[in-house]
């Protein structure tokens, strides 16, 4: 066996397991321990740990059956009526011990396919013709995406259970029905219809080649058309569902047959109000079915406490099915119900609850004043809410759910920030939310602090204490940066500074616009924030920057597949400037064809599959009568260009500049030859692993050792080294403004989004070796501001200096992941150090930082004995996930990150 990459790097003084600022203790150190969950939350979380991701065909069956029967109806009414019947037919399941009830399906961790968006996966299984037609990019991304083998993932079929998309289990007796449902959507799904029209884009062949070769990882119009946004719970909280129906009836009478001065969408208002009414009726029936089930269980139950709890559940549901909530318990149940309804309406990841602690505060405050609830009870309800959120699954293809999301669903709960009047918004309920997150560690909802200098120290320290327990949350986002970005992007749609304060995080770290709403509860008025922007991370969805550099170096030909992606440029690339310009040309070409194709996808989506319930929550529907597809949201300019592998690109450009163009220690042809030969290493396919740690040398000839050493030794981003940082600055100052050259289907300019989520694994898998010395098939750098694993050697403040050489307010976000050894931040002094570190980065203008507080030895132990570490969580890139549910390439990448031993 040849030498492993780790040995080669060790010999070059570039250890993969680099420890900065000291050395970790020899023995494994655990994280600081917090209190346990309440027994009830513990039991329900334990049940989750033992639950398989389960798919059913119940919702798709009823949706499809009624949609088919309504042929000839208006598209929006056909969809509304089908949704109503699907919601009304969902089977309710309530589990013993639950206080917050309802789920997406009758399974604890349930989900279902929505073939009206895309049925290709099922057809590929049974229909040869369709399979051939689907031999496009999506399949390649699927093939390169790896799920973790542990936890609740059903990666293989067994017994009477069939594995779908490598993650979900479906009972065998439901599979024929699922395939039949899928067949009914052939040539009618959003996917199929938009393929037809996408092909009319002149650049379509380039777009398809880009997708097949995983230069870009996903089409967003029929995969995850909604999400990475913030839900608004205001309307059901203020009016209740009966109140919403009454508003619809009133508005229908006012607008029926009247264009209202708008000759294009004015007449639609009547149908929109009717559609909202119909869907809300379906949701009321769904809630009432749960109430009936609670009543049935109350009858059945013999144990007095459980019997009483079923009675109270029924009473809460019977009330909220029609009325605005009166107290904290009803409000938290209603928010959960609305959240689920959004997720059942469309495929969406990153549907975030937003500033839940500020939204529920009026109920919390008044209940406490009345003595109707105490902190202990609230803490338990918040823990139960965590378990419920963690049970959410998003059903999608392996490429999307595994490759992009790592199985995560990104329900981000934001805290802190500012109130409407500019005062700090952190409150007592948010402190309990943090405490619930510490005690009941789960992946959802992940937490974010919208850091502002005005926030009280005590609140910030509580958040830091939570970080120290190793939860990976809260992440820290710069409030003022986000407000600046809001004004920059949404000013043209009327954003004011006051409204900019209502932003929060959608998805993992997509800053999303919000609005203020006046909530009245028992005669008292509160200004609460709620989401008011369209989905983000739709548009150009993850462009592999190192891959585009590869194409620039090799005249537009993919070196993994041998396929031409871009037209040949025919240049010799004799100067660094010429190379940089060529990279820019190809990048612009990629964004252009992906933007036009995705605009068509989303246009088909909005015509056929518009959201109705989500629109009701978020749009200014009472006043305008317009929904999402008619730009009814307050902020519609949310489409973006997402990048992946920023630092791998920067380090590669730096190595080329230094080794080839300035020092001339190797020629470009020599470096290209070394890249083609993977610097003398076997390919990832040959070693049957895409993990960094598993790569090994092909032979000991040493043909490429010198050039590999030269590029590995070139300056690296993350060390406060001006040579490298100038390249980062050059990239950002070109990339951020160039995104606005492209417009979304709503006629508004796009903007940059710089997060990797998990895409740095499958996109790395599709990319040959890079000029920075990274080997073929291995992960790119994570996030966008994180250093490449093990290359940040001058401490965190040097890393911060490198990361802030550009203005982060030009971008929706940036992403910095830092791994810290538990001993580095031990005790109160350690907490203060970590807070100071965070504050330093925010003050320098960084947008986001998140911490993995963990001993790498623990992660290695968990790789060896996965079954012993079912509850171990880590921070990946914008989200916390169970270690056992992450694919090995990402696991190895997290292990290889620099471990900070001291601050």
């Amino acid at each position: 066996m040849g030498k492993k990459l780790s040995e080669v790097l060790e010999q070059s003084g570039l250890s993969m397991n680099f420890e900065a600022g000291g050395s970790a203790p020899e023995s494994m150190v655990c994280r600081e321990v917090s209190d346990q969950p309440s027994p009830r939350a513990q039991k329900l979380r334990e049940l989750y740990y033992n639950t398989l991701s389960s798919a059913t065909s119940e919702f798709p069956y009823w949706y499809t059956r009624f949609h088919k029967a309504l042929d000839g109806e208006l598209p929006i009414m056909r969809r509304a009526l089908a949704l109503k019947e699907a919601f009304a037919h969902l089977t309710p399941t309530i589990y013993p011990g639950e206080l917050i009830v309802m789920g997406r399906t009758h399974h604890y961790r349930g989900s279902y396919p929505m073939p009206w968006l895309s049925e290709g996966y099922y057809m590929a299984k049974e229909d040869e013709l369709h399979k051939a037609a689907m031999a496009t990019g999506g399949a390649s991304a699927d093939e390169l995406s790896k799920f973790g083998t542990g936890g609740g993932n059903v990666t293989q079929s067994f017994g009477g259970v069939v594995s779908l998309a490598g993650k979900f289990g479906m009972r065998q007796e439901e599979v024929p029905a699922t395939l039949r449902i899928a067949r009914e959507w052939v040539n009618k799904s959003v996917d199929d219809v938009c393929r037809k029209y996408e092909k009319m884009v002149p650049e379509y062949p380039i777009k398809e080649s880009i997708m097949r070769n995983v230069v870009c990882i996903m089409d967003s119009g029929f995969t995850l058309p909604q999400g990475r946004e913030v839900i608004n719970y205001y309307y059901p909280l203020q009016y209740g569902f009966d109140g919403i129906i009454a508003i619809c009836e009133k508005r229908k009478a006012e607008v029926a047959g009247r264009a209202g001065g708008d000759g294009i969408t004015g007449m639609n208002r009547l149908y929109n109000y009717e559609a909202i009414k119909v869907v809300v009726e379906g949701i009321q029936a769904w809630i009432e079915n749960y109430a009936k089930e609670a009543r049935r269980l109350e009858e059945l139950e013999t144990e007095p406490v459980q019997k009483q709890e079923y009675r109270e559940i029924a009473e809460r549901l019977e009330w909220i099915a029609h009325n605005p909530p009166r107290n904290f318990r009803e409000a938290i149940q209603l928010c959960w119900t609305a959240h689920l309804a959004v997720l059942n309406e469309d495929v969406a990841s990153g549907m975030s609850p937003g500033r839940m602690g500020q939204i529920l505060f009026p109920y919390f405050e008044q209940d406490k004043e009345k003595g109707a609830i105490d902190d202990r009870e609230v803490l338990e309800w918040l823990q139960l809410q965590r378990v419920k959120f963690t049970c959410i699954d998003v059903f999608g293809s392996a490429g999307v759910v595994g490759g992009v999301l790592s199985g995560n669903t990104f329900n981000n709960l934001s805290m802190g920030g500012l109130q409407r009047n500019g005062q700090p918004a952190a409150n007592e309920l948010e402190k309990l939310i943090i405490e619930a997150g510490k005690r009941c560690v789960t992946t959802q909802p992940t937490l974010s602090v919208m850091y502002d200098e005005k926030l009280p120290e005590e609140f910030l320290l509580r958040a830091i204490e939570c970080n120290k327990t190793g939860t990976g949350y809260p992440a820290w986002m710069n409030n003022r940066n986000a407000m600046d970005f809001m004004m920059r992007q949404y000013g043209r749609e009327g954003m004011t500074v006051e409204e900019a304060r209502a932003w929060s995080v959608g998805g993992c770290l997509e800053s999303s616009p919000g609005s203020w709403y006046e909530l009245e509860l028992n005669g008292r008025k509160y200004s609460i924030p709620g989401g008011s922007g369209q989905p983000t991370s739709v548009g150009v969805h993850f462009l592999g920057l190192p891959k585009i550099l590869e194409l620039a170096l090799f005249d537009g030909v993919d070196q993994r597949t041998g396929e031409r992606v871009f037209p040949a440029h025919g240049k010799k690339l004799e100067t660094y400037e010429e190379l940089w310009e060529q990279f820019q040309d190809y990048f612009r070409m990629a964004v252009d064809c992906l933007a036009t194709a995705n605009n068509i996808q989303h246009d088909i989506w909005r015509k056929q599959n518009m959201s109705i319930f989500t629109s009701m929550l978020k749009a200014r529907w009472i006043e305008s009568g317009r929904l999402i597809h008619e730009m009814g949201y307050k902020y519609n300019g949310t489409y973006n260009v997402e990048s992946c592998g920023t630092v791998t690109l920067v380090n590669s450009l730096v190595a080329l500049k230094k080794v080839v163009y300035e020092d001339r220690e190797a020629s470009l042809d020599e470096l290209k030859e070394a890249i083609r030969n993977n610097f003398g290493f076997k390919t990832a396919e040959e070693v049957k692993s895409y993990s960094l740690a598993d790569q090994e040398k092909r032979d000991e000839s040493g043909a490429y050792d010198r050039i590999h050493y030269l590029v590995l030794s070139a300056p690296k981003y993350g060390n406060d080294d001006r040579y490298a940082d100038v390249v980062m600055q050059q990239w950002e100052e070109w990339f951020c403004p160039m995104c606005s050259e492209f417009e979304s289907l709503y006629g508004l300019p796009m903007y940059p989004c710089q997060i990797s989520v998990s895409t740095h694994a499958p996109m790395g898998a599709a990319t040959v070796a890079t000029p920075d010395g990274r080997l073929a098939g291995t992960t790119f750098s994570d996030g966008s501001m994180s250093a490449y694993a093990g290359t940040d050697r001058n401490g965190p403040y040097a890393l911060f200096n490198s990361a802030t050489v550009w203005d982060h307010t030009m971008s929706q976000n940036s992403q910095m992941n830092l791994k810290v050894h538990p001993t580095a931040i031990h005790g109160l002094e350690g907490s203060k150090k970590l807070l100071e570190l965070t504050r330093a980065y925010m003050r320098k203008g960084g947008f986001h930082i998140q911490y993995n507080v963990v001993d790498s030895k623990l992660l290695r132990a968990a790789q060896r004995e996965q079954e012993k570490y079912r509850d171990l969580v880590v921070r990946v890139a914008g989200f916390t996930q169970y270690w056992c549910e992450i694919g090995k390439p990402i696991q190895d990448e997290v292990v290889a990150r620099t471990e900070y031993e001291g601050m």
Binding site: L47, N50, T51, L52, S53, S54, A55, S57, E58, Y61, R65, K68, A69, A88, H89, L90, T91, P92, T93, I94, Y95, P96, H106, H107, Y108, R109, G110, G152, V154, G159, G160, V161, G169, M170, R171, Q172, E173, E174, V175, P176, A177, R180, N289, L297, L300, E301
Partner: protein
């Protein structure tokens, strides 16, 4: 066939946790859905137990005569929310 029809997962008091197992509301214990019924079995409304259901030749498929259009359905579709469900004697 009868044995197939009377599994835990066909019982009204079976709360399905996932595709394999569920919790029995009577005993509060986790049980496997495909195991045989117990003495307290209470039939769960499913299409296969409905008068309107007719099995098709294709396994796991059938049709519903409650609707004039006789739409297709499948035997294990839970029908507790179906207003047309009519249990077979």
């Amino acid at each position: 066939m009868n044995k197939q029809l009377r599994r835990h997962c066909d019982c009204r008091n079976y709360a399905p946790v996932d595709v394999v197992k569920g919790i029995c509301h009577r005993t509060k214990q986790l049980i496997l859905g495909d195991e045989d019924q117990c003495e307290q079995y209470a039939q769960l409304d499913k299409c296969k137990y409905c008068e309107h259901f007719a099995a098709a030749e294709e396994e796991f498929m059938g049709s519903c005569s409650a609707d004039a259009a006789k739409p297709w359905t499948y035997p294990d579709l839970i029908a507790i929310t179906c207003a047309s469900f009519k249990g077979r004697d």
